[in-house]
């Protein structure tokens, strides 16, 4: 795109020609007249009129209207004085010569005026096209900008390119007040006076500064960036020239586009903030409700059981059962704390897996050992594919993930049913799956099962709804994926895939004895 260089003489030049143009016009007409002297005579002076008309037409193609008008008048005078007999007088003898002179004068004038008008129209058309292109370019750049900072830098660049003007933005701080430092020139802090003007512009939604009616002593011009819903801030521009009336509408369109783009970004930010607030509010409520509920049950169990044991000892069978209750409740409390801690580690981004080579056998043995108590009532089957290589994982995290998946399956499976845990290695991925014979997932669960605090309505054992979201977090921290589906035979299946290269074990090392 060609930059439009705006100069104060530019628009005026259509109406006023420079002194130079007048001088050139006079000179050219004079020289032409002089060169035509040999043609003066009874028959030649008609030819001279054509030559002069031609010269005027030529002049009209590159000179202003004033100069062209003067050239046509001058050429009429020159033709009359030097060529129409009687020569060297303004007197014209023949009636037809008077007629020709009149026509010459009119043709010269029309010719000059029409040619400059055509030229002007053409120039305007080109200019309009350039402006349209500029606006089009701006729109394109703005729509490409993905965030506030990009919109700002695009705007500053475009203003620089199209108006040769330095500019920067002072934006609102998100609370409908203007922020003190300007954006995109972060090292630059507005002087108190400039800030005052910016604030005035922001509040009153009017322009101020140079070339305006308000604070016109300031070297910069301040434009409010206001949209239909909110004002995003103030644009500060250092104009080196006055914007003429037909140019100002271009400028206004230009900054309106920028203003709209800024508003769009601000609204997007607001929407994000609102969603975040909404989410954290919901999170807080859920957390509070579930924590008080979830913690109270095991605490109540422990209190009740311990109380019975203290107040009425003796019955050995009952005592045994109460002890078992206390133990189970404390396991449950411990699991809750573990899950909350893991969740907070995930939330604060403090999960950074430290992978090392591990044996999948060890992994699944650890899970089944940790779930020994719970697995008493189920039939756990572990199927590890033959020749599975060592896998590179963070043992603690993946163990916790598999533990949570298996534990989740136990919650929904009838006693005595089979829980099938499979481990495979395919295409550099460790694939772990847990299948149960419970009710499976309904459609809503399939979508949400890995979301924080999501609990299916068939939840019978409570829980915070954190277990599977922790699985997701831990697996994703390994660049892996986790998915849920229903088995064809009924029951749920959860699959974990974790990328793990084949360990490069030098066979020489192994057999080197």
């Amino acid at each position: 795109m060609r930059p439009i260089v705006v100069k104060s003489t530019r628009v005026r030049s259509f109406f006023k020609s420079g002194v130079r143009d007048y001088l050139i016009a006079v000179l050219i007409v004079a020289v032409t007249g002089f060169l035509c002297i040999p043609l003066s005579g009874a028959s030649g002076y008609h030819v001279v009129s054509f030559i002069l008309l031609f010269i005027v037409t030529i002049l009209a193609t590159f000179m202003g209207t004033g100069a062209v008008l003067m050239a046509s008048t001058l050429s009429a005078v020159v033709w009359n004085f030097f060529f129409i007999p009687p020569q060297f007088t303004f007197h014209i003898d023949k009636t037809e010569d008077i007629l020709i002179f009149g026509l010459f004068f009119i043709i010269a004038l029309l010719n000059g005026v029409l040619t400059t008008r055509v030229r002007r129209q053409e120039k305007l058309a080109v200019e309009r096209e350039e402006r349209t292109n500029s606006l089009f370019g701006l729109t394109k750049e703005l729509s490409k900008a993905g965030n506030l900072n990009e919109v700002l830098s695009v705007s500053v660049k475009q203003i620089e390119m199209n108006f040769n003007s330095e500019s920067f933005f002072v934006l609102q701080d998100g609370n409908k007040a203007l922020s003190r430092s300007s954006r995109l020139q972060l090292n630059k802090v507005l002087s108190p006076e400039d800030y005052q003007i910016a604030e005035w512009v922001f509040v009153n939604n009017l322009c101020a500064g140079k070339y305006t009616d308000n604070y016109s002593g300031n070297p910069m011009t301040f434009y409010p960036m206001s949209g239909s819903i909110l004002s995003s801030g103030v644009l500060v521009v250092r104009h080196d020239f006055y914007l003429e009336s037909d140019f100002i509408s271009f400028w206004n369109t230009f900054i309106t586009l920028i203003s709209n783009a800024l508003e769009r970004e601000f609204l997007r930010e607001l929407a994000n903030k609102a969603r975040f607030l909404d989410e954290s509010d919901k999170l807080y409520k859920t957390l509070f409700n579930s924590i008080s509920h979830e913690f109270r049950i095991p605490v109540a169990t422990i209190m009740g059981a311990a109380d019975s044991l203290i107040s009425s000892p003796g019955d050995e069978k009952m005592s045994r059962e109460l002890y078992a209750e206390i133990f189970t409740a404390s396991l449950r409390l411990n699991r809750l704390i573990e899950n909350l801690l893991n969740m907070s580690r995930l939330e604060t981004g403090r999960i950074s897996p430290r992978p090392d080579w591990h044996d999948v056998n060890d992994l699944l043995n650890k899970v089944s050992a940790d779930l020994k108590e719970e697995l008493k009532f189920y039939n756990l089957r572990i199927k590890i594919s033959k020749n599975i290589p060592l896998v590179r994982i963070d043992f603690g995290l993946i163990e916790q993930a598999v533990y949570n998946v298996v534990y989740n399956s136990l919650q929904y499976s009838p006693h005595g049913s089979e829980i099938l845990v499979k481990a495979n290695y395919r295409n550099n991925f460790l694939v772990l799956s847990v299948e149960d014979n419970g009710p499976g997932f309904n459609e809503a669960s399939l979508k949400n099962i890995f979301n924080k605090f999501y609990r299916t309505d068939v939840t019978k054992t409570g829980g915070l709804g954190l277990g599977l979201s922790i699985v997701k977090g831990f697996v994703e921290a390994h660049n892996g994926t986790v998915s849920a589906e229903n088995r064809k035979t009924g029951g749920a299946k959860i699959k974990i895939s974790i990328p793990s290269e084949n360990p490069n074990i030098n066979p020489k090392f192994i057999s080197n004895e």
Binding site: N334, D356, W357, D359
Partner: protein, 227 residues
């Protein structure tokens, strides 16, 4: 236990000390308690307990510092009992001289078993020529291993690995320690080799290599030869 074994508990949490005291006394141990690191070191010196249970989060000094301090002159078993459950913490404690590590919350039964194992291991003479563990017989002089009285063919690396674990029966040996001792310093990062050898050993000595009962994995930390 014939002569009463005494256990020193260094832990600032009174409920934990009380719980341990109840458990240990009921199982025939004498109990000494200290609530901070400084007292713990003094008590260890004056009472010379058979075993120390050490918490890491002490009010006056870090448990690891206490452990290192103790290890300069106290050679009986120390079991670390802490809420710190990260692999680094556990490895650091083991490398600083702890014989074992248990995280809170813990199961009393498990703790008692570990205490007994640690005391027993401490009593064992280091240079027994032959060790019998369950159905295994390891002969360090002839470099042979017998399972159910039948010789199992082991490579020399396999034999050094299993000897090391067997001599420290019941004690967790960290990956780094095993790699360093069996293969040398330059292999300290190559856990995969260790895993491969452990898997090979399990195939040779375990009844069901998929569910090992002799060579126990301490996830992320190391291996232990079962009691």
């Amino acid at each position: 236990m014939n002569n009463q074994e005494s256990v020193l508990i260094i832990d600032d949490e009174l409920p934990i000390r009380r719980l341990l005291e109840i458990n240990l006394t009921a199982n025939g141990f004498g109990v000494i308690q200290s609530s901070c690191g400084k007292d713990g070191i003094t008590d260890a010196a004056s009472h010379n307990p058979s075993l120390i249970i050490l918490d890491l989060g002490l009010p006056d000094m870090d448990g690891i510092t206490v452990l290192k301090n103790l290890r300069e002159w106290f050679f009986k078993p120390v079991i670390v009992l802490s809420v710190r459950n990260s692999e680094e913490d556990i490895i650091e404690a083991l490398d600083s001289g702890a014989n074992d590590y248990l995280t809170k919350p813990f199961r009393s039964g498990e703790l008692l078993a570990r205490i007994r194992a640690a005391i027993r291991a401490g009593e064992k003479s280091e240079n027994e020529p032959v060790i019998n563990i369950r159905n295994l017989e390891i002969d360090f002089i002839n470099h042979t291993l017998k399972k159910n009285r039948k010789i199992v063919k082991l490579t020399s690396t396999e034999f050094s690995l299993i000897s090391l674990l067997a001599k420290n029966q019941g004690r967790v040996l960290t990956h780094q320690y095993l790699l360093k001792s069996v293969w040398g310093y330059s292999y300290i990062e190559h856990t995969q080799y260790l895993r491969v050898f452990i898997a090979q050993l399990r195939k040779k000595i375990e009844d069901d290599p998929a569910v090992p009962e002799l060579l126990i994995t301490e996830s992320g930390i190391g291996y232990r030869f079962a009691e």
